[in-house]
Symmetry: C2
Subunit: 529 residues, 2 copies
């Protein structure tokens, strides 16, 4: 057959998922889904493409990243850019739904220049949870923060993450008080948003030289936007006479005061950093905004909370610029992936579609591909190889001797399947014994059933746990009547499952729920992953 | 706010999924996934779009239905049309994978004229399971048939489906022996494939008048393609001297003989109808082909197995043509949705990409949207309303009296969430009691926790099972120390879960695993769905 003339690849910025990566990613999905359901979440599914008009005017200058479908006659459509705008469109169309806690796990599309080693792709998954409805202030907002914490604790991140949090109205208030002209507030806001990647001096330069802001105004902004804290920072804002007189500031400070109280009741206040440099690009946010960063995921040149007390904004630049830093650490996939989750309150988006009915919303979007990259890098970096099974088969059914016993193996599999037990056999009429063992071992199948002349003649099978040590009394398997086989296998599977749980807990192993990492013995070094 | 100028809708042939439909569809997915894993399946994920060259030349005249992405600079891409071609491309790219049982559940895209009431859409889900690898003949093929049966039994269809089965080489052999010229075999094959929708007379007309086949040749074909059976039909083919001398026929008959043996060992032979009218449109099939139909899903004008014994092909036309029939029953969503699953063996597709390495494959694709339509229609048609909960919340935490006890409710929820218990509270500082009850009841939440002045003062809560009859000793709930709350709730949830299972089994209720249908009392008629 002639070699095909086209290149054999997936489109730029996309990839196939398979093998252990897929297993790990599925575990991440199920951990996240479990948390979403624990909070009463229900899921919806929307089309992968929308009428182009629906997406228009929602993403600012990022609109150029939208994938369009070809005009093949009929409607003009584009691939979805996120799950938030389709959700707002869904709410506007379904007027009977006035409140909902909805989650949605699906792919979104952005024609970005991908940096694939850093986990950024053109096709990638988002896991969104949003609360829509009119409620008392900050209650859904507080639950979203709690959900973020439960997701990362569920993933075993054990407090190695920070929720950076700010409020659009506080930012706008600061800009007003510092003297930013009304028509420059949005563009100055997006300059501030770069403080997680650029030193203050660069951001100040962008404000003054590129965006024409008065230098003194910029300096006044610079005194505030480098600050971080919690109630202490809120207190500091309140004690500033000019700021506390501003109407936006008042609303934002009331919100955050309530939020901090509620986060304490939810026992997650320590996870939150009130960070005045966080601005978030999207136009539709109206209240609190937040971004989750983890160790190394967003190298910051802004000072820490302690250093921030007496900032000297113009002198923050380090010896190395952020690009150099990026280059130095470009082989570490956990560096520079940006935030691993982000969101905020958007009270006006539904109204942009419905034309009248507003439904206030607040939500969070988890970047699963980034979370995956970090999870995998941590598994590889630990002094352990990961034992991630490709499939979940419980029992491998094998024949011994020259007869192959094909139909007997098939009938035994049918019996096991009937009982819900996951089973395989080798697709050979007369399989060789080593080939059968290899097929079982490559997937870490825990049990085997052996069939030989003696067993078949006696109406029995041998049930054997794989990997038992030499000298173990059941090393050669135990003989069981065919009629008792299913019950025997079920008992042993249940026993093994409980034993594995105990072992995992005793060893304190928890990388991703259900995936157990095992210590490497010195003789078998971890393979490069 | 001004009314937006664009139409608020999803693109043609697409829809949103939410509410109970989403719950039912998710249950269908999990039933199917469970079966796939039981047979050692592992999943992969491929991009929603492929380079256009990958899809070119795979779908015959249906290629016009492919969705193209706009050319925005860079690569030329199209949305995937099925999951089979991307799977073959995946195998060709990953040369280390020589065998795999892979499943893939994802959306595919076809610019068809949709008949949405019949469950046909432009964006729809497929659930595929394929076995790739070089094995002894017909073993993976037999397991695929077994998987089909386990899926539909798992969905509770209880043998109300038939797997129509044929073999490409038997069809080709019959065409050769009957005298179809080599260059007409494919087009005559696709005429035969219409026998599930058209009477023989119409198909014969297409063969002779449209496609220029000799009338006598058509009549000879007509004697065979209306036949159905199992080993009996295979015997009849074998006993025909001309047919049994044909090389294609020999290969096909050997395959089917083996297959029927294996299906007997797997205990599913009774589900299969060897049907010589089944041809399947796609070019890439090389061995057995099959399609699953259910009661009414594919109205057939071909005779039943018994009637088929002595066919008079030219007289099969009924008084009503199939179009009229379609109109008559257009309100029944189970009619005319076509097959609910289909597939076959394709041994040459991977080689079309790799250029040399062939990997033989056999697989099945479940049409979930059609399965969903039928499942839902059956639920509505039964004398029962379905009790499908929208969310899975276990406990609703409520305040009594005027104080609201907001932070106490929040702290209790945090405790429940910490223990993995699904819990909600009303997002109000001082919620009214009826509003809290309504929020719990609308989702069928089974338990409530009450907080009033007395409980809070005593460090206790009331745990109440919802919906208990008047006079039940625990109708008002039981008082529990706050520190024992989680343990108490866990015990009661477990007890209720087991009780519900027993009740469901006793009532013989199984619509979809995990979804319980309850009898309607005469006072509350089932709402139209």
């Amino acid at each position: 057959m002639a070699k095909p003339k086209f290149e054999l690849k997936t489109p730029k910025g996309t990839k196939d998922w398979g093998g252990q990566d897929m297993v790990i990613r599925d575990k991440i999905f199920s951990t996240i889904t479990e948390v979403f359901k624990r909070h009463g979440g229900v899921t919806i599914d929307t089309p992968v493409f929308e009428l182009r008009d629906i997406l228009a005017g929602k993403y600012g200058e990022d609109s150029k990243l939208i994938y369009d479908l070809a005009d093949q006659g009929g409607e003009i459509c584009s691939l979805r850019y996120d799950l938030t705008v389709p959700f707002a469109r869904f709410l506007a169309m379904n007027k009977d739904i006035q409140n909902i806690k909805r989650y949605h796990i699906a792919k979104v599309y952005r024609r970005d220049q991908p940096a694939m080693t850093k986990g950024r792709m053109r096709e990638f998954y988002q896991c969104d949870f949003d609360v829509a409805g009119t409620y008392d202030p900050m209650l859904p907002d507080a639950e979203i923060i709690r959900i973020i914490c439960e997701v990362f604790e569920g993933l075993g991140w054990n407090k190695t993450y920070t929720i950076k949090l700010n409020h659009r109205k506080i930012l706008d208030g600061i800009f007003q008080v510092c003297g930013v002209p009304e028509d420059k507030i949005r563009t100055i806001s997006s300059a501030v948003d770069k403080l997680d990647k650029l030193p203050w001096a660069d951001v100040r330069k962008e404000m003054t030289e590129e965006k024409g802001l008065d230098g003194e105004v910029a300096d006044r902004i610079g005194e505030w936007v480098v600050l971080k804290g919690q109630n202490d920072l809120l207190e500091r804002l309140r004690s500033d006479e000019k700021l506390s007189a501003n109407e936006f500031m008042k609303q934002g400070m009331t919100d955050l005061g309530l939020l901090f109280e509620y986060l304490e009741a939810f026992n997650v206040l320590d996870r939150v950093s009130f960070d005045l440099s966080l601005a978030r690009g999207l136009d539709y946010y109206t209240g609190i905004i937040y971004e989750v960063v983890t160790e190394g995921s967003a190298p910051s040149t802004t000072p820490s909370a302690e250093q921030a007390e007496a900032p000297k904004p113009a002198k923050k630049k380090k010896g190395k610029g952020p690009d150099a830093e990026d280059d130095d650490r470009s082989n570490d996939p956990t560096v520079g992936v940006g935030s691993v989750a982000a969101g905020g309150r958007y009270d006006n988006l539904v109204g942009m579609f419905s034309g009248k009915t507003q439904i206030p919303c607040v939500g969070i979007s988890f970047g699963v591909d980034r979370i995956f990259s970090i999870t995998k890098a941590r598994m590889a970096a630990a002094t352990s190889t990961s034992l991630v099974r490709n499939n979940e088969v419980d029992v491998y059914v094998m024949a011994f001797g020259g007869k192959g016993f094909l139909k007997e193996r098939m009938a035994i599999c049918a019996q096991l399947w009937e009982a819900g037990i996951k089973a395989e056999f080798l697709y050979k009429i007369k399989p060789k014994v080593p080939a059968q063992f290899k097929a079982a071992e490559v997937n870490g199948v825990p049990f085997a059933i052996f069939l030989g002349d003696d067993e078949v003649a006696a109406g029995k099978v041998k049930v054997k746990e794989m990997g038992l040590q030499e000298g173990h009394p059941e090393k050669e398997g135990i003989l069981v009547d065919l009629k008792d086989m299913v019950a025997e296998v079920k008992v042993r599977l249940e026993r093994k499952k409980q034993l594995d749980q105990v072992t995992s807990q005793a060893e304190g192993l928890k990388v991703v729920d259900g995936i157990k990492a095992e210590e490497t013995t010195p003789e078998t070094p971890a393979p490069a992953s």
